[in-house]
Symmetry: C2
């Protein structure tokens, strides 16, 4: 299968390497420098201490070629910037969106493409150089139909699946997206504000208290009945990635824009619609927005 991956960040590089094992991958990058480096030297993938080199074709993202499938791996807040790219992708070509949060769903709705899949990625990845990615945590990628025919997803998953890079199919995209959203809404802003590794949220009893304060408001907004199940999922992820820095903490430490608008911003909008008071989420939102400056 010919797969176009749009976005040369940590996740884009990671997907390009693993999917190139049994597919023909083209990575579409924003900068000519990254295109040049990848075409010349390939992509380096570090995993469990060993480093492999992958030969990948790279192209500028405004020069879209024909592909059987596109995976859109840019950040949610970059989608608007690359909107014109989608005019060059035929509406029959399936698209997979793997952004965090829920804010991208509005963007997706306005596209004319027939088959749209949304995904949530549970891998940890760190872009160490322009063409060097470190796979810091193994997880899986969940995919669900956002629009189109369910029968397309099975074959796509079959072709994407590779070891140790599994894909699984989820029935309900909203439930899947919400599940990831909750985890992100709790772990990301807290670790970024506290400058704490994921594991500390469970080990430090005061930080655990903060997890519950945030979860209280998220559960209220999303009207979730099984609070305990959600908490256990957060706990498991914190424990499995105990020594990792969350993506938002890394963004803050590196003075980059974060995904706070897509994650907490989306929840604040929902709370406003439902006329709910969520002071702790407002606190998280403005703390991170203030730190981004």
């Amino acid at each position: 299968m010919r797969i176009g991956i749009i976005g040369g960040g940590a996740i884009g590089l990671l997907f390009a390497c693993y999917l190139s094992k049994s597919n023909q991958v083209t990575l579409y990058c924003r900068t000519n420098e990254q295109v040049r480096l990848i075409n010349k030297y390939g992509i380096y993938l570090k995993h469990h201490g060993t480093v492999d080199n992958f030969t990948i074709k790279a192209q500028p993202s405004d020069e879209i070629s024909a592909e059987d499938l596109f995976i859109i791996a840019v950040k949610q807040y970059q989608l608007e910037q690359i909107e014109r790219v989608f005019h060059h992708i035929p509406s029959q070509t399936p698209l997979i969106f793997i952004q965090n949060g829920v804010a991208h769903l509005k963007f997706i709705e306005n596209l004319s493409h027939e088959t749209i899949i949304v995904g949530v990625v549970e891998h940890g990845a760190l872009k160490e150089k322009t063409n060097y990615v470190h796979h810091t945590g193994e997880g899986l990628t969940r995919l669900a139909i956002f629009r189109g025919n369910e029968q397309f997803v099975g074959p796509i998953i079959h072709k994407l699946n590779t070891i140790p890079f599994p894909f699984i199919f989820e029935k309900d995209y909203l439930e899947m997206v919400f599940g990831k959203l909750i985890v992100n809404a709790v772990i990301n802003p807290l670790t970024a504000i506290l400058k704490a590794k994921n594991g500390e949220l469970m080990l430090n009893s005061h930080y655990l208290h903060l997890v519950h304060l945030v979860l209280d408001e998220v559960v209220k907004i999303l009207d979730i009945s099984d609070r305990e199940k959600v908490f256990m999922r957060i706990k498991t992820i914190c424990e499995n990635t105990a020594s990792n820095q969350s993506s938002m903490l890394k963004d803050i430490l590196n003075h980059r824009q974060t995904e706070i608008d897509g994650i907490i911003g989306g929840l604040l909008n929902m709370a406003e619609t439902k006329d709910l008071k969520v002071p702790v989420l407002q606190f998280l939102y403005h703390s991170i927005k203030g730190m981004e400056r």
Copy 2:
């Protein structure tokens, strides 16, 4: 006047220097090392770029001599540890307590001394070495009667007053203490969590939003009608000390215990008594307690 100052922290050192100009000061210290250094080298006071040396008598705090007045300059959470010291101070000797927050008022209530004055200190001070203090911000010290005869306070203030170290008399100790408490409750934990200087709370529009979120809950607990007046006081202090780090930020950066229990802990207790929900104050409390570890 013979003045005993108990506590050789930044504020104790600062008071010792200025009050020694027209009084006979003894500084009571916890460590023998500090006693030795001060008796040998005096105290260095840095102010507006110049450094002066003050000859001050120092004594261990368990060797209390006769004084006309004691100023207790230890942190609120250290009061319990020095409780026995008060048994050696005659009950006729006036005491001045200058702790932050409200938690120390309970401790004071149980003392048998006839004249007790409480104060709030608006100076900025940084202890740079064991016997070296930097006067980083000029302010004033407000004093009010907690217990005893009001006529004692006038002469005391008269004898303490010196330039640039003014003392003023306040009628209502609770209003005075609450005023300082509110300022501390808003500025201290926020700057410590955000790692921000005082001025940033007003200059960064997102941080200003956080100031209002915290103030909303404090105003509710203390049943304050003139919210605008309180906000303006916070604003003025942030602007006057714009480039200062708050004491709580310094404590966190130096891995020291903070005064969070005396400040936010006291407010949380009041909120519980009144059955009020204050999630943002809980967030501040547990963030700081978690960072203290």
